[in-house]
């Protein structure tokens, strides 16, 4: 072990907090981390101010783990700040790695989001006209808010990222392994993984690890999970439940399919897959049991909002990521 403690930071951008909870989910392991490392910033669990980070020398932090997507100017500012202060920057979780759930916002526009949330939302006070602005003056005082970007970005579209640990959230076992591997690398006990490595995952698709029995897939209609009680031993797709396992990387321990819930694709594209959505188009189409165009349309109509399911975590990573409607 090194003479001095490692200096690390954990930060959340556009995130739900689940990634931070997954770190706490490692239970007493977090105390092992505390033995070898000082946590200098971790908004959900520890004190630490941006000013403290700004006062550090460049590269003073050994590693920073950032979860969440880049949604506003504060996210971008802190991501760039931590990049400058850290030797190693890790994208932690699916939002930082692929854009994640916040990335679904790229299927619409900033103006539509602001209108829907602040003007049309049924829970608003009638007649509300207040919309958040980056700058506003109240009683002669200038107030500021982070500005809301036109698009959602994954972390490596904004700063240089060394490693990513995907998952929504990363499973505690994988988190432990990844952190131990990084600690060994940072303390010189092991060679660091090659830059750009995806940590805490397997080099195969989820289906390879799924214990459900797989035979021929022929489907006359699709079911939403609440419309059917699936057979616990048969592939969910064969039962007409849309499952993203085909196109998704294994690493989660197949937690959803073994619990009767279809894979949502949170571990990101399987090795060799460019876009989960495009691969799932192929997977679903090959299962549809019809050669009649009208019947095909009718069967596919039982799959509502296909894009949001097929690219649930990866809209900002699509090859078409930039062609959102303006």
């Amino acid at each position: 072990m090194a003479d001095r403690k490692l200096q690390i930071a954990l930060y959340w951008c556009a995130a739900c907090g689940g990634c931070d909870v997954s770190v706490l989910d490692t239970d007493e392991f977090i105390l092992e981390v505390d033995k070898v490392a000082d946590i200098r910033l971790w908004p959900i669990a520890a004190d630490g101010k941006y000013a403290d980070i700004e006062a550090m020398a460049d590269g003073e932090l050994d590693a920073a783990f950032i979860n969440g997507a880049i949604r506003n100017s504060e996210n971008e500012h802190v991501a760039k700040l931590l990049r400058r202060k850290s030797k190693v920057l890790v994208a932690y979780g699916s939002c930082a790695s692929f854009g994640g759930i916040p990335g679904l916002a790229n299927l619409t526009t900033r103006d539509e989001i602001l209108r829907r949330v602040y003007r049309e939302n049924p829970s608003l006070e009638p007649g509300n006209t207040t919309v958040p602005l980056p700058e506003t003056t109240v009683d002669g005082m200038q107030l500021t808010l982070p500005s809301f970007y036109r698009r959602v970005y994954r972390l490596d579209q904004v700063v240089d990222v060394d490693y990513s640990i995907p998952g929504c959230p990363p499973q505690p076992d994988r988190c432990r392994e990844s952190v131990l591997a990084l600690v060994a690398a940072l303390t010189g006990q092991a060679d660091p993984p090659p830059k750009g490595s995806v940590l805490g995952v397997y080099e195969r698709a989820l289906c390879d690890d799924c214990p459900r029995e797989k035979t021929e897939k022929k489907v006359k209609r699709f079911y939403r999970p609440w419309e059917i009680v699936p057979d616990p031993n048969v592939c969910l797709m064969e039962q007409g439940v849309f499952c993203a396992g085909f196109a998704t990387r294994s690493g989660c321990g197949v937690r959803c399919p073994t619990s009767g819930i279809p894979c949502r694709g949170c571990y990101g594209p399987a090795p060799g897959v460019v876009d989960q959505g495009a691969k799932l188009v192929s997977a679903v189409a090959s299962m549809v049991d019809s050669q009649d165009p009208e019947e095909i349309e009718a069967i596919l109509a039982t799959l509502p909002d296909f894009t949001s399911f097929a690219n649930r975590y990866s809209v900002p990573s699509s090859p078409l990521q930039r062609s959102h409607r303006r």
Binding site: R150, V274, A278, I296, T307, N311, R322, S323
Partner: protein, 144 residues
């Protein structure tokens, strides 16, 4: 410079590529806007190829296969037929206009039909303007 649409065409080896060949040997005139890639079957066209073609600068993508019932591999074209409605949904959600990606059945004897499809698609894409993906790629910075 005036805008000329670029179309990437994926043509199946057995029917549509021969159809395009027939258009050529018959000296049928059609716009030079299409860049043809021969594939063994229309079902070989992974939807990823369509996305990549659009990202890499195509204004439109044309996929041609054997007529239903005529597939050299029995049912490859039915797989393509089933993929397209889903692929179109995906593309529409990313703001790609319907006319940019097209599936047509062209047999080896339909040289004229192939030329008509390429002419029609070129005109429609010319009217539609350049692909929005290209404009977005030019916009490389973070959009604040």
């Amino acid at each position: 410079m005036s805008y000329e649409p670029t179309i990437v065409g994926f043509l199946c080896n057995w029917c549509s590529y021969s159809g395009a060949d027939l258009a050529g040997t018959s000296r049928i005139q059609y716009p030079p806007n299409i860049r043809i890639i021969r594939v063994m079957c229309s079902a070989r066209v992974d939807p990823t190829f369509v996305l990549k073609a659009l990202r890499d600068g195509a204004d439109g993508v044309l996929v041609c296969g054997c007529h239903p019932g005529d597939c050299h591999y029995s049912e490859g074209n039915y797989k393509t037929m089933r993929r397209f409605p889903l692929l179109k949904k995906l593309l529409a959600d990313y703001g790609i206009e319907d006319e940019r990606v097209r599936l047509e059945w062209v047999s080896a004897s339909e040289g004229q039909r192939f030329a008509d499809i390429v002419s029609d698609m070129t005109e429609k894409l010319r009217a539609l303007g350049p692909s929005p993906v290209k404009a977005d790629l030019a916009h490389d910075a973070v959009e604040r």
